[in-house]
C-alpha cells in the first residue's frame, strides 16, 4: 500500500462526480460504495451493467454517470466488458483511437449476478486475463426484486423466499476469484472509506482482471432504518462477518483485523432479517452457530 497516494481521509477525492437524486432506495449501501468508487475511477470509463438494483441508475433520458454506460443482461456483464475492451484494443491498434482516449472498462453487478447467473461468464473473463475492473455490490439477496435469497445470502437470514431463515451457506466469491489467480481482488465496504479508496486506487493502477467486492448494507432488504447504513457496515467489519482483505500476486492480506471482535449478535439484532433469531424467543443455537462460523474464519487468519 505504500506506493499509494491515499494516506488519510484528507486524500480522498473532494469532487463528487456521480449525480445524486437517483431512484435507488434511501440509504443504499451499494450506491454509497459506488459513489466513492466512481469518484476515484473518473469519467474516462465505460460501465457494463448486469441486471440488478444499479440498472435503475440510468433511466432514459437521464444518467448520474459522467462517463459511458451499457446495460447488457443479468448473466453477461463480464462478456460485455470483453467485447468493449477488445473493440477498444482493436481501435487503438489500428490507430483509430488515441491511447490517451482509452477507457477503463468496468463491470457492475449485484450479488445475484456475480455469485450466480454471471459467474460462468466472469470466470471465463478472468481466465482470458481480461483487463477489466469488476465491481460487485453484495446486498446478500436479489434486492431489486424485493430481497429473495441468492447465493450470497447468509445462513439464517430471512428473505421473502426464506421466511423461516435461509438454509444455504453464503458462497465465498472472493475465494472463487482468488482461485482464478487474478491480478487483484479485494473486499470493501462503504462504511470504511479509507480502506475502500486505497484498494480502488490500487486496482485502478493494475492491468488485468480485478475485483472490488463491496458489501452493500440494504435498508429495505435487511430491515433497518436507512440512516443506519454506515453503522451496520461498521458493525459488519467489527464483528468480523465481513472481513476486509485483498489478494495480490498470490498473497492474501487482511487489511483490517478487528481486535477484539464484537459479538456477531450486535450486528444481527440490528436487522429485521435476523429478528426471528431473537424474538419471540432467543434461538441461542442459531446465534452460536453464526458466531462459531465467524470465529472459525478468523482462527485461520494468521
Amino acid at each position: 500500500m505504500s506506493e499509494g497516494t491515499i494516506k488519510s481521509m484528507k486524500n480522498l477525492p473532494q469532487e463528487h462526480i456521480l449525480g445524486e437524486g437517483t431512484s435507488l432506495c434511501a440509504g443504499c449501501g451499494g450506491l454509497g460504495a459506488l459513489h466513492q468508487i466512481y469518484d476515484l475511477l473518473g469519467e474516462k470509463t465505460v460501465i457494463v451493467n448486469a441486471a440488478g438494483c444499479m440498472t435503475s441508475l440510468a433511466i432514459y433520458p437521464y444518467t448520474p454517470f459522467r462517463g459511458s454506460w451499457l446495460y447488457t443482461a443479468m448473466a453477461s456483464a463480464a462478456s460485455g466488458a470483453q467485447g468493449i475492451r477488445d473493440a477498444l484494443d482493436v481501435l487503438i491498434a489500428q490507430g483509430r483511437l488515441p491511447t490517451e482516449d482509452d477507457l477503463t472498462v468496468i463491470a457492475l453487478a449485484g450479488d445475484g449476478s456475480s455469485y450466480g447467473m454471471g459467474l460462468s461468464a466472469t470466470s471465463a473473463a478472468i481466465e482470458r486475463n481480461l483487463d477489466f475492473l469488476y465491481i460487485c455490490y453484495d446486498n446478500e439477496g436479489y434486492g431489486n426484486t424485493g430481497q429473495q435469497f441468492s447465493a450470497a445470502t447468509p445462513w439464517g437470514a430471512r428473505t421473502t423466499t426464506s421466511r423461516g431463515g435461509h438454509h444455504g451457506k453464503k458462497k465465498d466469491l472472493f475465494a472463487i476469484w482468488a482461485a482464478h489467480h487474478p491480478v487483484y481482488a479485494a473486499t470493501v465496504i462503504g462504511a470504511e472509506p479509507l480502506d475502500l479508496a486505497r484498494k480502488v486506487e490500487k486496482a485502478i493502477r493494475l492491468r488485468g482482471p480485478r475485483l472490488i467486492l463491496a458489501m452493500a448494507p440494504c435498508p429495505t432488504g435487511w430491515g433497518y432504518d436507512p440512516q443506519e447504513t454506515v453503522e451496520i457496515g461498521r458493525l459488519a467489519v467489527r464483528c468480523g462477518i465481513w472481513p476486509l482483505k485483498e489478494y495480490e500476486e498470490g498473497r492474501l492480506t487482511h487489511t483490517r483485523i478487528p481486535q477484539p471482535r464484537i459479538p456477531v449478535e450486535e450486528y444481527l439484532q440490528k436487522q429485521s432479517r435476523f429478528r426471528h433469531l431473537f424474538k419471540p424467543e432467543r434461538n441461542a443455537e442459531a446465534i452460536a452457530h453464526i458466531q462459531a462460523e465467524v470465529d472459525r474464519y478468523w482462527s485461520n487468519v494468521a
Binding site: S68, Y71, A81, D86, L88, S123
Partner: protein, 417 residues
C-alpha cells in the same frame, strides 16, 4: 478473383475475412465450428487482421459481439441451433442497441430429440428478434450474402444486426465451386464501418440500452426498430444493385425460378430449393407449368414482392422445413397472412418436411405438385401434410420393437403415401 471449391462454412469464413471483420467472438458448435476454426487459423497466421476470441458460451459470445459493435468495430460471429437458443436473450437484446454486426447461423434442428442435421426451427426462433435475416441456398450465395449483409446492416437507414443462414450439412459441409472476390473488389462494394454516433468515446460519453419506464417510451424504441427493419427492404434493393454492379451476381430479395408463366409454385427457403428447381425442370418436361419462389430475405418480410410474384397463380405448395407445434408451418402462416384478401390470390397447400435433415425426395416433390394441382382443380384446400412415408414409419416401429418401448403413437393413418 479466383474460383475454387468451398464448403458453405468455408464460404461463410471467406465472407467474414473479405469483409475485414475487426473482431470475431466465437464459440464452437456443430455444424458451424469449421467457420471459427478457419477464422482463428487465418488470424493466428496473420492472414486476417481481425481478432478472434473464444467466449465461454453463445450468450457471452453474443453479448461481446454486440458490445464490440456498440464500441464501433466491425464484428462477425457464427452459431447454430442450441447455441442460437442459448444466446437468445442477447439475440433479442442486441438489435435495440442499433449496433450492426453480422452473424452466420448454420441451421440445425433443435432438441428434443437432440440431433445434428438441418431444419429451420432454430433460425425461426430468432424471427421476431429484430435481426435481419438472409437465407442462402448455395455456397456462393453464403459468401456473397455475408458481404451484402454487412452493407445492409450498416446502412444508415437500417443499423441493425443481420443473420445469414445456411443449412447444416447440406450446405455447411458440401463443396461447391465458389468465386472468391478480390479484396479490392470487396472494398469498393463495402466501405469501412462507420459507427456514427453509436460508440463509446472518452470525449463523447454515452449511455446505451438504458432502462425506460412506461410503455410509451418502450413503444417508441420498439417502433423505431421496426421501422428501421422495414427500411431494409428499400436498402436491400440498393445493396443488391451495388453488389451486381461490382460482382456481376444478382440476388433479389425473393428468388423466382422458372416462375414467369408458372401456374404452380414450390415455395420454400434454404438448400432444398436446389432440389425443388431440379423437380421443376423435370415437371416442366412433362408439361406442368411450375416454378420455385424462394425468399432470401425473411426479415424484413418481403410481403409486397411476394404478393406481386404470386398473384394469379393457381396454387402454391408451401414446404416448411420447420414445425410450430400445434399450428403447423411458419412460412405457410406468414405467406397466408401476406396474401390474405388479395385479389387473385393462389390457393396455399401446406407441407411440413425436411425436419432434422430428413430428405425431401424428388418423388415427394412430384407428389406435392400433383396434389397441389388436384387441390386447385377441386377448389378445396387440403389439410396440412406432414411428409413421412409408410416405409419410414415401419422402420421406426421396428426399432421400437427392438428397444422394447411401447409409446402411444399418433401417426398411423395420418400419412397417405
Amino acid at each position: 478473383m479466383r474460383r475454387t471449391l468451398l464448403t458453405g462454412n468455408g464460404a461463410a469464413a471467406w465472407g467474414a475475412r473479405l469483409a475485414e471483420a475487426d473482431y470475431v467472438p466465437a464459440f464452437p458448435i456443430t455444424p458451424q465450428t469449421e467457420i471459427i476454426e478457419a477464422l482463428a487459423g487465418w488470424s493466428e497466421r496473420g492472414e486476417m487482421a481481425g481478432r478472434v476470441v473464444t467466449l465461454d458460451s453463445e450468450h457471452s459470445m453474443l453479448t461481446a459481439a454486440a458490445a464490440a459493435a456498440a464500441t464501433g468495430v466491425r464484428v462477425f460471429t457464427a452459431t447454430s441451433s442450441q447455441g442460437l437458443l442459448y444466446g437468445m436473450e442477447m439475440i433479442y437484446t442486441a438489435p435495440g442497441w442499433r449496433a450492426p454486426f453480422v452473424m452466420v447461423n448454420v441451421s440445425r434442428a433443435l432438441a428434443s430429440p437432440i440431433t445434428l442435421e438441418a431444419d429451420h426451427n432454430d433460425i425461426l426462433a430468432a424471427r421476431d428478434s429484430g435481426f435481419l435475416q438472409i437465407h442462402c441456398a448455395t455456397c456462393q450465395e453464403v459468401l456473397d450474402s455475408v458481404l451484402m449483409a454487412y452493407r445492409l446492416a450498416e446502412h444508415p437507414q437500417v443499423r441493425l444486426p443481420a443473420i445469414v443462414n445456411l443449412d447444416g450439412f447440406y450446405l455447411s459441409f458440401t463443396r461447391e465451386p465458389v468465386v472468391i472476390p478480390d479484396q479490392e473488389q470487396v472494398r469498393r462494394f463495402l466501405p469501412p464501418f462507420d459507427p456514427g454516433n453509436v460508440a463509446f468515446r472518452a470525449d463523447r460519453p454515452a449511455s446505451q440500452a438504458a432502462l425506460v419506464l412506461g410503455g410509451s417510451l418502450y413503444s417508441y424504441f420498439r417502433y423505431e426498430a421496426h421501422l428501421a427493419t422495414l427500411q431494409a427492404l428499400t436498402a436491400y434493393e440498393e445493396v443488391a444493385q451495388a453488389f451486381e454492379r461490382e460482382m456481376g451476381r444478382r440476388y433479389p430479395a425473393v428468388e423466382a425460378y422458372r416462375a414467369e408463366d408458372a401456374e404452380y409454385i414450390f415455395f420454400l427457403m434454404g438448400a432444398y430449393a436446389t432440389k425443388a428447381k431440379d423437380a421443376v425442370n423435370r415437371l416442366r418436361e412433362r408439361g406442368m407449368r411450375i416454378g420455385v419462389v424462394r425468399p432470401r430475405l425473411l426479415r424484413p418480410y418481403p410481403a409486397r414482392i411476394l404478393q406481386e410474384l404470386l398473384r394469379g397463380r393457381r396454387a402454391v405448395a408451401v414446404i416448411d422445413q420447420n414445425l410450430s407445434m400445434g399450428m403447423g408451418g411458419i412460412l405457410y402462416s406468414e405467406l397466408a397472412s401476406a396474401l390474405y384478401g388479395m385479389k387473385d390470390a393462389p390457393m396455399l397447400v401446406s407441407y411440413i418436411g425436411g425436419l432434422g435433415g430428413r430428405d425431401i425426395s424428388t418423388e415427394e416433390l412430384f407428389t406435392m405438385a400433383a396434389q397441389t394441382r388436384e387441390a386447385a382443380d377441386a377448389g378445396v384446400t387440403p389439410e396440412p401434410r406432414l411428409l413421412y412415408t409408410a416405409a419410414e414409419l415401419r422402420e421406426v416401429r421396428k426399432m421400437q420393437t427392438i428397444a422394447g418401448s411401447k409409446l402411444p403413437g399418433h401417426m398411423e393413418g395420418k400419412n397417405d403415401e
